[in-house]
């Protein structure tokens, strides 16, 4: 896997656990996204997940759907998303994963995409409409072109069965993205004994770190999950707070102050002082 990503999981967590934060690229502008990515990294976020907007996001709830709509309305594209990563890389070593539906990547051309992504400083891919067993060709081709510089992050659901998990353990890298529940992004997940049992059970199938996402939005959830897994992913809760800020008519100074408060909240829920 990419060195940057490897480093995160081979070292102890800075806070309660490793925190992975999501932003939609270009919501509301590429400049704002870049500034907020840097902010999240500076406030102790371990891994950044950058969404590529898509017109038909079937795995996303209302918060991320709206973020994607705003980004597309502002003219956001895959090319501009890679540009954000390139600029972020000038000063930051925090790993960046692209979260994208397949079609924009296929349209760009897979071979060109993986080379450009690595060159820009992307460390891995989370592809919500590519189940592991459909991805064999794409993974083989990616490995041929860029080796292990680009990790495919597998997604595991509680509906996944023995045979799915067995396939996952072959050729996966980085960490596995464990869904806290069946459903789309957003809302609030209940961390039940069933969920923690499922997370624990995954150890039988994989040595990879397990990070849990979907519906994580409180310090209590983070602290509880920290006992069972290697990291948590926070998406909609961050996107929603930034978008509420963007809705207000604020001076530049007020906007920055609001952003800092959100960044402090992110650090705080992972107990980073």
């Amino acid at each position: 896997m990419s060195k940057r990503l490897d480093r995160i999981f081979s070292q102890p967590a800075k806070g309660k656990t490793r925190l992975i934060a999501y932003l939609m690229a270009g919501d509301p502008t590429p400049e704002t996204t870049l500034r907020r990515l840097k902010g999240l990294a500076d406030y102790g976020v371990d891994v950044l997940e950058l969404g590529v907007p898509f017109s038909d996001p079937i795995a996303d709830g209302p918060v991320i759907q709206s973020a994607g709509e705003r980004a597309l309305k502002g003219g956001m594209t895959l090319v501009k998303t890679l540009e954000i990563v390139r600029e972020f890389r000038v000063l930051h070593e925090t790993p960046v994963l692209l979260m994208s539906y397949l079609n924009p990547l296929l349209r760009y051309g897979w071979g060109k995409f993986v080379k450009d992504a690595v060159e820009a400083g992307v460390d891995g891919l989370i592809l919500p409409d590519l189940p592991w067993k459909e991805g064999t060709n794409l993974r083989t081709e990616t490995k041929r072109l860029v080796g292990t510089q680009l990790s495919f992050i597998p997604i595991v659901a509680q509906t996944s069965q023995e045979e799915d998990l067995l396939e996952l353990s072959i050729g996966s890298q980085g960490f596995i993205y464990v869904l806290s529940r069946n459903g789309i992004t957003g809302g609030e997940a209940e961390i039940s004994a069933k969920v923690t049992g499922f997370i624990n059970g995954l150890k039988q199938h994989t040595q990879l770190p397990r990070c849990v996402g979907f519906g994580i939005q409180t310090a209590k959830q983070v602290h509880c999950l920290a006992e069972y897994c290697d990291g948590v992913i926070i998406g909609s809760a961050i996107v929603r707070q930034f978008s509420e800020l963007d809705k207000k008519e604020l001076s530049e100074l007020e906007l920055r102050k609001g952003e800092t408060e959100i960044l402090e909240w992110v650090a705080e829920i992972n107990s980073i002082k």
Binding site: D56, P104, L106
Partner: protein, 409 residues
């Protein structure tokens, strides 16, 4: 577009389940993988189960009213002055379209799988009505997703669904048509996959839907074949069907695919023009990509975003298409053409006035192509048009055209 438009990384070697050449597959969230596998297994066992097949056949005969008529449209043929035109009368099915063939099959599967809640998307409302009907017949809870724009223009069908006891959920995001209704239904399924069966309405979507839907609709082509042999003593020369997601067309074409002498023509919605957002001509103007779980032709912009579409007929207003049609196009076995809104409206008028039959606006696209084609042939050429549905649902849309004076030639 030629084969070169397929990204080499999407090439599939050998024959794989759920693939039509390089097209098809199941590009869905991981959560749905076990559900689709369970569905494929249930379908496989149902196919081998005689009791299931008998129950399905019995429903088609005694509830839907099959076989549907193979009707010689003599006055229409005379009016056009060329080929002889026959109509496969799917409009005479219970609930008024071909959709019921597929929904009854899928609801029987749902029952077999022990699912208690049924969800479906609908564009024109015909699949919604057919699903609500089958759910009423089997006492199952039914939720239908429908775009706000389609709820407006297919209001009659919304009322029918509600009368049948279904809950109709208005989809108010994106283009507010069929594409967005499918997005919402998928999101619902992801969240309720344990007890919910997704009754998919067309031959698109992830594997195994394109195969299941095709098989349940193949009755259209099988009957047509039998009826043509009986009444004409031979196979037809040309088959014409409209293509939205492609279910009526694939069910009509499938039993004829090996008969190279039979020309297969799919008709897409040409809408108002060639510009982005003015049409829904997926196979004729699109490129391959991934939408709604399948690798197939679709209408997309240079960044891979799905385009807005337009068609006077809600059932054809869709930027994707079933993977098997992409394959038939790629290998040159079927031809795909487009018909504009106005041509479809005029064809509706012609069929009404020559034969006393009011076609659905979707089906009117197929009629319109027959209207164009017939004069190029003599009476020894037999064209069969699949009249996929009746037009009662479209009278308000037609009235708008009449009032705007765009109805007459």
């Amino acid at each position: 577009m030629t084969t070169s438009s397929i990204d080499p990384v999407m090439k599939i070697e050998g024959r794989t389940a759920g693939r039509f050449g390089d097209f098809g597959g199941a590009y869905v969230p991981e959560i749905l993988v076990p559900a689709l596998r369970e569905l494929a297994k249930a379908y496989e066992s149902a196919q081998k189960d005689e009791a299931f097949q008998l129950e399905f056949k019995d429903l088609l005969q005694n509830y839907v009213g099959r076989p549907s008529l193979f009707y010689h449209a003599e006055r229409l043929s005379k009016h056009l002055g060329g080929a002889e035109i026959y109509l496969k009368r799917e409009d005479l099915n219970h609930t008024g379209a071909h959709k019921i063939n597929n929904t009854l099959g899928q609801i029987l599967l749902a029952k077999r799988m022990g699912k208690s809640r049924i969800i479906a998307e609908t564009g024109a409302g015909q699949h919604g009505v057919a699903t609500a009907t089958a759910c009423a017949l089997f006492g199952l809870k039914c939720v239908i997703y429908m775009g706000e724009e389609d709820i407006r223009r297919q209001h009659l069908n919304v009322l029918r669904m509600r009368l049948l006891g279904a809950e109709v959920c208005s989809v108010t995001i994106g283009s507010r048509t069929l594409k967005d209704a499918i997005n919402e239904a998928m999101r619902d399924w992801v969240a309720h996959v344990e007890d919910t069966f997704y009754c998919f309405g067309t031959a698109a979507g992830p594997h195994p839907y394109p195969t299941i839907v095709r098989d349940f609709q193949t009755i259209i082509g099988e009957e047509t074949r039998r009826q043509a042999l009986k009444e004409l003593g031979r196979l037809p020369d040309t088959l014409i069907a409209c293509v939205g997601g492609g279910s009526n067309a694939i069910g009509f074409f499938y039993p004829f695919i090996e008969d190279q002498g039979v020309k297969l023509i799919g008709v897409e919605a040409g809408g108002k023009g060639d510009a982005i957002g003015e049409h829904a001509s997926t196979l004729t103007l699109g490129d391959p990509g991934v939408l709604h779980g399948s690798y197939s032709y679709l209408l997309q912009d240079d960044d891979g975003q799905i385009m807005m579409t337009h068609s006077v007929s809600a059932g054809l207003d869709y930027p994707g298409v079933g993977a098997e049609h992409s394959y038939l196009k790629e290998i040159g076995r079927a031809e795909y053409v487009r018909v504009s809104d106005i041509e479809a409206v005029r064809a509706t008028q012609i069929l009404c006035q020559t034969e006393g039959i009011l076609p659905a606006l979707e089906s009117a696209h197929a009629i319109a192509h027959a209207v164009k084609l017939a004069p190029h042939y003599g009476p020894s050429h037999v064209i069969v048009v699949n009249l996929s549905g009746r037009g009662d649902k479209d009278v308000e849309t037609l009235e708008e055209y009449m009032e705007r004076g765009e109805y007459h030639e």
